[in-house]
Symmetry: C2
Subunit: 241 residues, 2 copies
Amino acid sequence: MNTKPTLFTSFSPALLHLYDLSNSIVVIIDILRATSTIATALYNGAKSVIPVDSVSRCIELGKQIEGVTAGERDGKIAEGLQNGNSPFEYTREFIAGKTLVFTTTNGTRLLQMALDRGATEIVTGAFSNLSVVCDHLMVMKKNVILACAAWKDRINMEDSLFAGAVIHEVGRYFSINCDSSHIATAMYKQAKKDLFDFMKANEASHYHRLIGFGLEKDIRYCLTPDLANVLPQYDNGKLTI
Amino acid sequence: MNTKPTLFTSFSPALLHLYDLSNSIVVIIDILRATSTIATALYNGAKSVIPVDSVSRCIELGKQIEGVTAGERDGKIAEGLQNGNSPFEYTREFIAGKTLVFTTTNGTRLLQMALDRGATEIVTGAFSNLSVVCDHLMVMKKNVILACAAWKDRINMEDSLFAGAVIHEVGRYFSINCDSSHIATAMYKQAKKDLFDFMKANEASHYHRLIGFGLEKDIRYCLTPDLANVLPQYDNGKLTI
């Protein structure tokens, strides 16, 4: 008898409807850079991160609760917000004790979508907190959906690689009848020696986009495991650890 | 100046809306088994293959034109149809000179969807006709969409591998800003020594499904290059060579 919980990978928000979120832990993945930054801000002492799906809501809520407003649209700080979504902006000196109200093109939108689709247990995952995410999934023994934020519904390499990294670590504890998961794992095995080089050699679209913005440092940070190894869990509108 | 045409890979019909089909050659990919069988039937002398999107339409049209009705639903011959979608059913002795009216769970549905989305140039691709598809794309110098049929919108390994095989051959002639394409290519490079073994080792879902039906022979055939190296082109409701 196979009593292992199931694990599926959704490579794009446009595929999320194929999976049953209600009975699963949903891991929201937006490596460049939302979920890397969420882990970093909480690791550095942010009280909570409140993901919102629009810039106007971000501004409004930021005023109400005297939070730090942050986020991007198309890779740049959105107009009217105070901060961007580089993890380097969220040092302990800056963010400790504060609430971050956060909106991004893909990651926070996906989180909202998961809620709308009945998800009740949501965590965020990034290489920054790879180990703690894996430990959580192993301990909980529940079904898992690895939900990639992608880029405007187009599949991206780094979110898929992270799904592969998680499965590489914990896959044996799950029943996986999901080719996206197997594709991610096969790619990760090839990439794991040097994720940055793999992204560069294989012409990942976000590698080019962020290098174009002079953000090599961000890419390297976001591909490094366990630099902010805390588990952001969503509850009642907030991500906390 | 970059004057190369573009190439994108759509891993699932649920992602097809992200791409501009109207100005592109759309390659419909359903390795297990629709597009492998289409190539085989035409290679063996079928007059044409008429893809239809429902079993009832298949039966109706089959009667009208005295064609061979064929197709599957959920991997088995659909009720009311004469034949299934194994390439081995379409020997020269059986199919030469006949018209095949064909419906499948994913492949013919995707073709119809591509038409609805404005595609004007459609060919079908499979390992069975890999070389001629690649030659065609090289010669035509037009934008390309590699459209995977997947399985009820869930991404599958073999269609993705075929996309990787095409890009491995002709990618240098295209401008590819598409991580799905890069993911497919990275996977194909790892798999190409032995596609069957790769599918088995990486637990591809269709490998398991078809092995369960006793169809290892079909899988091996459908993963072998150039056994039916003709180019099915869609025009006016029919695929012909």
